[in-house]
Amino acid sequence: MVLLIAEQYYLTSVLRAAAQRFAKEGSIQLGQFLPPEAFRKALPLQKAALREHYLPDQYHCHEPKSVSAAVKQLQRWLKTKEAAAIISAIIDDRVRYKESCLCVYAHRDYTVRHDKNIEPPGYDVLLDLTPRWNARACGHHSYVDADGNELIRIPVAGNTLAIISRPNGVQKFVKYVNHFAGKDRRVVLEARFS
């Protein structure tokens, strides 16, 4: 049987350790989340044709015009009971999948908090499919309170799954991607659970 996610994340001991860390920090970033072969199948997204989304005072980002069967499989996996069970085990609460999107952030892309775009409280799940990234390029997810104080920062890290608790009043943004990104793209499967 071909596993869609790395074998270790089926182990109770691993999930228990992750749960302890999540309880302490309100977020966790699980490394090597996909088996190497599954992660490699997402790499063509670096060169995929993109559709631009631009509302200057809210966001500038992209999505692929088409995705491979392997990536579609990952998108479907996030909606499965198996995904919900793993996430529930880590956050120690039952979750329900709400929505997801495949987002691509390149040089000059960003999202900002906006009164017209308030996200309801819940849990964010970020499956990072970025193969390489210059940390100086920014493009990280930042979670801030109502005063703008950063509570959690999720750095760009390929083949990780981040789970973030987003209580009432906490909003997120993707920090402007600067010229250190060059032609690289940050590719993230962003999902929301409640």
Binding site: D57, S142, G148, H179
Partner: protein, 202 residues
């Protein structure tokens, strides 16, 4: 007090011309006044500004370096410049060319270094009438970034960049703060420093 301003901007016909052009400018009421200040005076102000402490600031909207409010800095040259902006004569001048009654201004100094930026926003906040930027950047070309860009809008939502101004030394930008006044500072793509004062007339 008006000795800070280049004489060509001060005669009555010049003021009449500016006051006609300001409200007609697209995509929203604005004005770009190049070589506006007396070169010797603004050079001295720039030198003193660069001696100040600039605090790094970052949020979803910006990444930049900013001084404290200039009025609080113990520097004679900068105090003089701040007082000039708040003088009755200069506020009357700004009121005349923008046809907007203003009585005072606040002021901070800014440096945008490589990767620094300010994303699109409209500047609206209680009391702000006219936004200003005194650009003191030297040696910038278009490829260096750091331009002040104005957005076209539809139903008070920004749509696309309509005009961009590469940073140039000794240039005063003025624009009316309104639901249409969406603007940004493009990312600086060079190791040159984009130096400016900015604030609002109230």
């Amino acid at each position: 007090m008006m000795k800070f301003v280049h004489s060509e901007y001060l005669d009555a016909p010049a003021i009449r011309t500016l006051s006609t052009k300001f409200p007609q400018a697209k995509p929203f009421a604005h004005m770009v006044l190049r070589k506006f200040f007396s070169p010797a005076k603004i050079r001295r102000v720039r030198q003193e500004l660069l001696r100040q402490n600039f605090e790094f600031k970052e949020s979803d909207l910006f990444r930049l370096h900013q001084t404290a409010d200039i009025s609080t800095l113990p520097n004679k040259t900068l105090q003089e410049f701040y007082k000039f902006f708040n003088s009755k004569d200069f506020c009357a001048y700004i009121s005349a060319i923008t046809k907007t009654k203003v009585t005072r201004a606040d002021m901070s100094g800014f440096i945008y270094s490589s990767t620094d930026h300010l994303l699109p926003h409209d500047d609206r906040l209680e009391g702000r009438k006219i936004a200003y930027i005194v650009n003191l950047s030297e040696g910038f070309t278009k490829k260096d970034g750091g331009a002040l860009s104005f957005f076209a809008e539809k139903n008070n939502r920004p749509t696309r960049i309509a005009q961009s101004f590469t940073p140039t030394n000794n240039t005063l930008f003025l624009f009316k703060v309104s639901p249409k006044s969406f603007h940004q500072v493009d990312e600086v793509l060079t190791d040159k420093k984009r130096v400016s004062f900015a604030g609002w007339f109230y």
